[in-house]
């Protein structure tokens, strides 16, 4: 896989079956840095997303000391190495000096959290610029997500303006930081062995979100963060689309089992008319709080699986069902009404499970796959890619 040139290798062209398999077998590791000033809410959001904390439970979290490393298994074949970096100034300086190479090399994603209520914006931005410079130096390919956090503390009417203003500021600072880094002698940057994305693109991949742990905005941000990291995404999407067409669905959502983040989705043309643009994060939010209710009722741990099957028929308006799909995922299907249609869709979804077996982990080599397993490897013909940085990401860290 490492031999394949990353650039220009898109989902459309199919690689050799051997390469595909090799790639599917590999458990992908992604180094994710979670940074920001102390008290900005990094550990809180991590606990909510990956450990199923309730928002109000995060009050009992203390300050993170140094770096809190956790390995989150996400789906079967992706491990997130989450570096929750304590944000007190002494630590920050340490990351930027002694530990610079250790912290900032091989980063897949940097999540930088700003506290919107912070009183010293200038200083926050200065620290941010330093972090970005270090990141550009060691992991130029890394994606950057900036979360403007604690938006619930801002009056609802002014939230958008406040966010836009802060976002513009962060963008400008980021651009400045990157420009400065590139003015320096390129050798310094070129120590990176990562194949450059598209020529000499000076900008970095930056996305901004307004978030709060008290509403669904957190799920929106994290779903986009996760979205880019999921291996074989194009395969999943293609298969969801063919499943959706086959069962006549209006919308299919695929959720990761623990975090209930939307991993992938497919929407029919009719479904696109749905006026609720925020429905994906809303679904995550609804189902996750439902899981809490269940765990309280049944007395099972929060991270345990809480429900297996759900169905809802809303008269002649729509039907929907959710079910445990693969070991690591739940599927939610929203479809037109009709008993016959509903029942056949349920059967078809159950029959489609083997197609998605690769979500549960490294796929077994073709020869040892028996029966239905064969068909699964055939559907996987189209090679997903876009993760050219594989060579660099695989390096041992921590």
């Amino acid at each position: 896989m490492g031999a394949l040139p990353a650039a220009g290798h898109r989902a459309g062209d199919s690689g050799s079956p051997a390469a595909t398999l090799a790639q599917l077998k590999k458990v992908k590791k992604q180094k994710v840095l979670l940074m920001g000033k102390s008290g900005s809410g990094k550990s809180s959001m991590r606990s909510i997303i990956f450990s199923n904390y309730l928002a109000r439970d995060t009050r009992r979290l203390g300050a993170t000391i140094d770096i809190d490393l956790s390995h989150v298994k996400f789906l079967g074949n992706l491990t997130l190495n989450l570096w929750d970096c304590g944000g007190q100034e002494a630590f920050m300086e340490n990351y930027l000096s002694q530990q610079r190479a250790h912290v900032f090399s091989n980063v897949g994603v940097l999540i930088y959290v700003f506290d919107i209520e912070s009183r010293d914006v200038e200083r926050d931005l200065a620290t941010y610029v330093n972090i970005i410079s270090a990141l550009v130096q060691y992991s130029r390919e890394a994606k950057v997500f900036v979360l403007i956090h604690k938006m619930d503390l801002i009056q609802p009417m002014t939230r958008e303006d406040v966010f836009d203003h802060r976002a513009a500021l962060v963008r400008r600072k980021t651009a400045e930081a990157v420009a400065i880094m590139h003015k320096q002698k390129p050798e310094q940057v070129q120590q990176q062995t990562v194949p450059s994305a598209a020529g000499e693109d000076l900008s970095i991949n930056l996305q901004l979100f307004a978030t709060s742990i008290w509403d669904q905005s957190l799920y929106k941000a994290w779903a986009s963060i996760i979205h880019d990291l999921v291996p074989n995404l194009s395969v999943i999407e293609a298969q969801l689309a063919s499943l959706g067409l086959a069962i006549d669905a209006d919308e299919i959502l695929l959720f990761e089992r623990t975090s209930f983040l939307v991993v992938s989705k497919w929407t029919s043309r009719e479904g696109e008319r749905n006026p609720y643009g925020d429905r994906f994060e809303r679904m995550s939010n609804i189902l996750k709080s439902w899981k809490h209710t269940c765990s309280k009722y049944t007395g099972t741990p929060r991270n345990a699986e809480q429900f297996s099957d759900f169905e809802y028929k809303m008269g002649a308006t729509f039907s929907m069902f959710a079910t445990k799909f693969t070991t690591n995922t739940y599927i939610l299907v929203c479809m037109p009404p009709g008993e016959a249609r509903f029942n056949s869709a349920k059967l078809n979804v159950a029959a489609a499970r083997p197609w998605f077996r690769f979500l549960d982990g490294p796929v077994v080599p073709a020869q040892s796959a028996v029966g239905g397993g064969m068909s699964s490897s055939q559907v996987l013909g189209s090679t997903p890619s876009g993760y050219g940085g594989e060579g660099s990401v695989g390096a041992p860290d921590g």
Partner: protein, 368 residues
Amino acid sequence: MENRQRLQKKDGSKVPDPTTPQTKGKPRLLLMGQRRSGKSSISSVVFHKLPPSETLFLESTARIQKDSLNSFMEFQVWDFPGQIDIFDNPNFTFDMDAIFGEIGALIWVIDAQDDYLEAVARLNSTILHLYRSYPHINIEVFIHKVDGLSDDYRLDIQRDVTIRIQDELSDQGVENAPVNFHLTSIYNHSIFEAFSKVIQKLIPRLGQLEAMLTNLCRTCRFEKAYLFDVNTKIYIATDNTPEDMASYEICSDYVDVIIDFTEVYGSWPRSQQWRERLEGEPWAQPLEEQVACEWAESGMVLADARRPIMLREVDRFLALVAIMKEGSYDKMPQINMNVDVVVKGLTEFFEITKPKEVVGPAQGLASP
């Protein structure tokens, strides 16, 4: 099945009719208490779905706020400003008959985290006023804001308040006044549960409703069944098994989940082509005939012990929610048939008991 239905009704009619005066208007809930005790927060959270955290921003209530609650029955909710004493007001004399003339409940809110002696004293004088002239008013005391208190402390406070009120009343020669106590908080389900109890007392022939649900639980092996008012998540009836806060919570949250899904996927119109395609070959039937039930029905299997929860809409205000015993998911079709019959019975029940003057809910209750 039909026979059982008739039997149920016979059973139900044996339950004594609550001895309440028949009134013409809508039942009324009167919220009173000291200022800052949380009356407006309660009514906003319960009747207007305000998230509890946002009640911090509510302004103090300056005059009587009248709300009406449209549901299977129509209720009026009157929120009184705490600083006004309606019995002893030098500036203005309130028309007592206009306030207390209707059947209803007086909800007296006491802040448990504050010094409540004055509140208790005012409550006592209110009870004495009401007891003589308007004995049909139930007095419900909400010992409120108990979320921050330990379980033991809550009970201590409840005991203390109860004793203070009963002592005072018996000193005045009043015995057996219709006073009930509830421990409440807007940050959990207790406020909804308390309102459920309050409202159930105002429902004519509640016993019959309960008998129907009890019967359904027995035939379908349900652990617990609730009849919910969907908008407020107040339950207006349940079967006769012991009260259980946990099952109320999960059923109430299930209603929430269904409401949310309905909003996201069911609240916008589909296009004409969509409908034409679905009604064309090979289905060749209008969508309405492709479905088994024109109201919402839903079920979910919990992972532990595979206990299913089911929900069935009764009309546009009410939904039946039940927790089933393990392993009954396979019998869903039979259960659905039984539930259908009970729902039909419920619909008839509301058709019969509905006060004739009230025209509001009539469209919603039209039997399918």
